[in-house]
Each structure stands twice: as structure tokens, then as C-alpha cells.
């Protein structure tokens, strides 16, 4: 039986995987930074403390996306 190819993907499917891996951290960073801005707008006097805490949180969330980037190189194709 002939197989009809309707669509073909060239390149590496790992790029799609990385795209998926970036969705969660993207949402997380959005919520995290948005809430910090909200807090800063409500109480400008604690903004330096909020900013420090935000960067600590950002570091934890960001590493998820970066693990996605690294995984592509570690796991052989």
C-alpha cells in the first residue's frame, strides 16, 4: 500500500519538546512578575524587598525552562 505523505517535519523534534518545556515556566514567570508588580504598586515602600524575593522565585522557575534546554543536549537523538 502506498503511503501518502501529507506533511513532513525536517530538523529535530526536540525543538518542539523545548517549546513545550517553556510553556510552564512562561506561565509561572508571568504570574510571579505580575503579582510582584501588583504588590509594588500597592505598597511602593516594600518594593526593594519584593524585588529581591521575586528574583529568587524567578531563579527557581527559570531553571525549569533551562533544564528543558539542557535535556536536549544530554539525551541523545
Amino acid at each position: 500500500m502506498d503511503v501518502t505523505t501529507l506533511a513532513e517535519v525536517t530538523g529535530n523534534i526536540g525543538t518542539v519538546g523545548y517549546g513545550l518545556a517553556a510553556v510552564g515556566p512562561g506561565i509561572g514567570l508571568g504570574i510571579l512578575i505580575g503579582k510582584t508588580i501588583e504588590g509594588m504598586a500597592r505598597q511602593p515602600e516594600v518594593s526593594s524587598q519584593l524585588r529581591t524575593t521575586m528574583f529568587i522565585g524567578v531563579a527557581f522557575v527559570e531553571v525549569l525552562a533551562l533544564l528543558g534546554l539542557v535535556a536536549g543536549f544530554i539525551v541523545p537523538a
Binding site: 530538523g11 529535530n12 529581591t52 528574583f55 531563579a59 533551562l66 534546554l69 539542557v70 543536549f73 537523538a77
Partner: protein
């Protein structure tokens, strides 16, 4: 890749180094398009091989010395020279040069050490945090320095050394403050949780404290620098390809990629400073979690 049934020959190109461009996870559909569009000129897309340059000397030994090691040595020499000069010429009324150095150290002490650790512990651990901040900052900035062009931290070795230092310091600080048993109880048994849940929590906390913290410190720094280098390299490689090898209207794309590359250049300077800040502040946070009073 096999030959396609419609008679189009498979794309042929060579990627230098042990990695084939088609197999790297960062190869996208755009790369074959760019490569197919090329005439005689080659489009040199950046690959992982960028981070494994050929050895300069001591090839094959554990002391293999390549371009990235050279960059690290240059960065370390610059860092040492700057601080030795600053320390030798330290005056009560600082000049412009001393002012900049003092601003950096002041930032580490006030915004990182004292803010997270408090006055007493902040001053105690300030030398550690300042060393980590300045080292990471300088090693990151080599990635955007013309002619060096690669960050000293973009290969895992240096981040691992720094992360291990942090690891030993925060374990040591915890043991010193609470004793081995007290430290383990502090970090593995979070208070205010019903006892049965500890079956779940203890392994998670163990993984977190003893493996994930140092591992993520190292990976975060390295992956940021790798991603930054690849973004910069692909923008400027595309600019060079569009301007010199592409024909006619395609040359216009070169302007776009050049603007994008320049924007990423400034973004990379920001990322270099941000990663130095994040590494130092996480070190401070981990130290604080270890030494802070029992709950």
C-alpha cells in the same frame, strides 16, 4: 535523511566538529531553508561544537587547554589585576576607579549579603558572596567581549566548581550552627506538617537540599550562557550570510538580523549581571536556610 521520492536530493552540508547540525536539538526548520538558499557561500550556523574548540596544547590529557580555558585565564587575570590595583591605591576619598569598585562591593554587601542574611551573618559571609558575584560577573561578561566572544561559564566545569563551593559552605554552616542531627532535622523535617506526610516530604527535601540545589545552581548559569552565545552567534552568522552570500532582496534580511543581534548583545550584558546576582543571592538564601534559628 533518505532521498525523497520527488527527486529532490537530500540536503548536504558539513558541520565541523563531533556534532552534526541536523542532530542538535536547536536545529530548526529554518536552518535547512537557509542552507538550501545558499549559493557558494556557506551558512555557518552555530553548533554545540562551539563550546568544544580544538585544544591549544596538552591535547588528550586532563589538562587539555583550549580557547575557553584561555578566555577564563584572561578573565581571572583581569579580575585579579583590577582588584589588586584597587586595593593598593585605596584612599579615604575614592577616585572614580575606586568608586566603581566600591559600588560593586557595596551592592553585594547591602543588597545581597545583609538583606538576605542579616547584619551579623551578612558581614561574615560577605567575602564568599563578593568573590562569587565578581567571578561570575567577569566570566559571564567575556561572552560579550569582542575577540573573546565566549563566556568562561558556558562550559559546565566552572559553574560546577562555584556550585560545589556554595554546597560545601552551606552544609558546613548548617552543621556548625545546629550540629549534624540538628541540621538534618531542620532541613529534612519541615515543621507544622502531619506526621504521615513525612514519608513523602523527607525524600523530596533530601533531594532538594543535597542534589537539586547545587545542580540547579550550576545548570542555570551554564544554560543561560550557552543559550545567550547561540542566540548571538545565530543572529550574526545570519547577518554575515545575508549580506555577503545572499542575492538581491535577500540582503535586506541582513539588516533585520543585525538589529536583532545588537539587541541580544545588550540583553546579554543584562543577563550576565543578572546571573551573577542570582547566583550570589541564591548562595545567600541557601546559607540563610542553613543557619537560621530552628523553627
Amino acid at each position: 535523511m533518505t532521498a525523497r521520492s520527488d527527486g529532490v536530493p537530500p540536503l548536504q552540508w558539513s558541520a565541523s566538529g563531533p556534532y552534526d547540525l541536523r542532530e542538535t536539538p536547536l536545529s530548526t526548520p529554518a536552518i535547512p531553508l537557509l542552507l538550501a538558499a545558499e549559493g557558494d557561500g556557506e551558512f555557518h550556523a552555530p553548533t554545540v561544537a562551539d563550546f568544544f574548540p580544538p585544544a591549544i596544547f596538552f591535547e588528550g590529557t586532563p589538562f587539555e587547554f583550549n580557547r575557553i580555558m584561555l578566555v577564563r585565564f584572561i578573565a581571572a587575570a583581569v579580575l585579579l589585576t583590577v582588584f589588586v590595583i584597587a586595593a593598593r591605591r585605596a584612599k579615604v576619598v575614592p577616585g572614580r576607579f575606586q568608586n566603581v569598585i566600591e559600588m560593586i562591593l557595596d551592592f553585594v554587601r547591602n543588597s545581597i549579603a545583609v538583606e538576605v542574611l542579616g547584619e551579623k551573618n551578612g558581614r561574615k559571609y560577605f567575602p564568599l558572596l563578593a568573590t562569587i558575584f565578581c567571578t561570575v560577573l567577569v566570566m559571564n561578561l567575556t561572552g560579550v567581549t569582542p575577540f573573546l566572544n565566549i563566556a568562561g561559564t558556558s562550559v559546565i566545569g566552572l559553574p560546577i566548581v562555584l556550585a560545589l563551593w556554595t554546597y560545601v559552605m552551606y552544609l558546613g554552616a548548617g552543621v556548625k550552627a545546629h550540629g549534624v542531627g540538628g541540621f538534618l532535622k531542620n532541613s529534612l523535617l519541615p515543621p507544622g506538617v502531619p506526621a504521615p506526610l513525612y514519608v513523602l516530604l523527607v525524600p523530596i527535601e533530601f533531594l532538594q537540599v543535597f542534589i537539586l540545589r547545587p545542580a540547579t545552581l550550576a545548570i542555570r548559569l551554564m544554560a543561560n550562557m550557552v543559550a545567550g552565545h547561540l542566540m548571538l552567534a545565530i543572529c550574526f552568522a545570519a547577518t554575515s550570510f545575508f549580506l555577503f552570500d545572499a542575492s538581491g532582496g535577500m540582503k535586506l534580511f541582513g539588516a533585520g538580523t543585525f538589529v536583532a543581534g545588537s539587541a541580544f548583545f545588550f540583553f546579554e550584558i543584562f543577563v550576565a549581571a543578572l546571573q551573577a546576582y542570582v547566583f550570589a543571592i541564591l548562595t545567600a538564601v541557601y546559607l540563610n536556610l542553613s543557619v537560621e534559628a530552628e523553627h
